[in-house]
């Protein structure tokens, strides 16, 4: 096992971590908010007035 092999393994490890992070966050988001709110974006809203920041149910991570 040389340095490059170590690099390769860390690349694999990091990839898996990032992938898992996205999947976990996606599932948590899907469960915390209603589907209607998540898909409420509409095309052509040049005025930003009707769009709001939804209340944050989860603490910042």
């Amino acid at each position: 096992m040389n340095t490059f092999a170590l690099l390769e393994y860390s690349a694999w490890g990091l990839s898996i971590l990032l992938g898992l992070w996205m999947l976990v966050d996606m599932f948590r988001t899907d469960r915390s908010y209603s589907e209607d709110l998540l898909t409420s974006s509409r095309e052509g809203e040049i005025e930003d007035a009707s769009a709001v920041d939804p209340p944050q149910k989860r603490g910042a991570r």
Binding site: L18, T29, S34, D36, L38, V52
Partner: protein, 462 residues
């Protein structure tokens, strides 16, 4: 955690409007600049160095038309999805579905190609450092995962990252250009190295195929329409400065490389600008151009994820695709499901498909899109003549750019046909089957009147 937040009194989430013209420039140039670091030089292989220069300028003309047309239409149709939303408002649903697919596949394939290149570069460095049995796959996968993660976390960071590394890659080309002293013949020896047209004028035509690589993707700026602070100003500004940057970079790149390498080598080189730096004997330049190559590939893949996911997202939002893809992340305000869904697609192509096939898939999708744009702008001017709606930018000499674009597209189809004819047909079969599927099955889930979202008057002639 368990209680659901429901939309009360019309609460909505939309993408976040935070970007300025600089980000638009980065999105346009970032996706393309990698083309100067590799890929364009296959045009040299297809027709010789002079043919590549002619192709570079003809393709530049094609893309100037694209940028002008795009700027006008998009300064009025300011919606994520870019050309997809334009097609929906100007031509009709089936065309829009096809355009959406062109966009997603052109960008996802380009992303795969960039990841392959990056993996290859890291592997090469490993081999040069004396390691045995080096493997490029982990780095291909890491590139895609990291950039998808960055995109997932928010558009501002993503495109600021792109802005920085794209600017670095562009400056590297400028530094190399001045370092080879273009005013003298110390390094640059065009009089010795240029050999005329090895394939005659047919070679010039064939070179157009890869001449497109100098600029492919610049039209992606429109994907940011729902995320820039003032779309009517920032989009035309970012797109036009982008195409000017690319024209300059392309000409400099050609000048450096064709003055340093015999065309037979240049036409088959993997990383031409890096090779040019090697020929100057300067370690500093070599390091600079190596980092430039890495950065340009990263920036391109990054912008590709951004553009492809916006197009996929807006199709999901209109139910052209399953509506789950129309979701926006409540905290990061990104189309997170589209981003995640496109990760395995990019991975499959980067892992299993050969590079030139991936590139040709990307080029062909782009070409179909430009053909559509030429027709679309003519229809746009006919259905909404000047003065009927407010345009942020009006392109000059209409319909000359549209006609020119069409002629150049026809020439490029022929160029792709020379050598990649079977793939052209395979692609057409794909889009025909997908169209049938949409027209006969998918379209029944789409709301009819509501998908026309722009506050425009009724089109002339309806």
């Amino acid at each position: 955690m368990t209680a659901e937040t429901s939309p009360a009194n019309g609460e909505r989430i939309s993408l976040l409007r935070v970007l300025g013209p600089g980000h638009v420039w980065a999105l346009g140039v970032g996706i393309v600049l990698v083309g100067e670091y590799m890929g364009w030089n296959f045009a040299v292989g297809k027709g010789g160095a002079i043919a590549a220069l002619i192709a570079c300028w003809f393709a530049g003309l094609l893309y100037t038309c694209v940028a002008m047309i795009d700027s006008e239409v998009t300064s009025t149709v300011a919606a994520a999805g870019g050309q997809y939303a334009q097609a929906k408002h100007i031509v009709g649903p089936l065309m829009a579905f096809n355009v959406g697919l062109y966009l997603v596949f052109a960008y996802t394939m380009l992303e795969a190609a960039n990841a392959i290149t990056l993996g290859h570069l890291v592997q090469t460095v490993g081999a040069m450092a004396g390691f045995e049995n080096t493997n490029d796959k982990p780095f291909i996968v890491l590139t895609i995962m990291f950039l998808a993660w960055l995109n997932y976390r928010g558009v501002y960071t993503t495109l600021t990252f792109s802005l920085v590394i794209t600017a670095f890659a562009f400056v590297s080309i400028c530094v190399l250009f001045f370092a080879v002293q273009p005013w003298s013949d110390v390094y640059i020896k065009h009089d010795q190295l240029l050999t005329g047209l090895p394939y005659g004028w047919l070679g010039v035509l064939a070179a157009l195929h890869f001449g497109m690589w100098f600029y492919l993707g610049i039209e992606g700026t429109t994907q940011a329409a729902e995320e820039v602070r003032s779309p009517a100003r920032a989009l035309p500004l970012g797109t036009m400065t982008g195409i000017i940057t690319l024209l300059i970079a392309a000409t400099m790149t050609w000048y450096i490389c064709s003055g340093l390498m015999p065309w037979e080598y240049l036409g088959q080189s993997v990383t031409p600008l890096f090779d040019a730096a090697r020929l100057t004997n300067s370690t500093l330049l070599m390091v600079l151009l190596f980092i430039g190559t890495i950065f340009s590939a990263l920036a391109s893949a990054n912008c590709c994820i951004n553009d492809a996911s916006r197009a996929w997202f807006s199709m999901g939002r209109d139910h052209y695709l399953p509506q789950v893809f129309g979701a926006v992340h409540p905290k990061y305000r990104t189309p997170y499901r589209s981003i995640v869904f496109l990760v395995p697609v990019a991975l499959v192509f980067a892992y299993f498909a050969p590079l030139d096939r991936v590139i040709t898939f990307s080029i062909l999708s782009g070409l179909l899109e430009y053909t559509f744009m030429a027709f679309s702008v003519i229809l746009f001017r006919r259905k909404w003549p000047l003065g009927t709606i407010k345009r942020g930018y009006v392109h000059p000499f209409h319909p000359l750019p549209a006609v020119m674009l069409l002629v150049l597209c026809a020439a490029t189809y022929f160029a792709v046909f020379l050598g990649y004819g079977t793939q052209l047909i395979a692609m057409m079969v794909f889009y025909i089957v997908a169209s049938l599927w949409f027209a006969l099955h998918r379209y029944k889930y789409v709301r009819r009147g509501e998908q026309f979202a722009m506050p425009w008057p009724k089109p002339v002639g309806y």
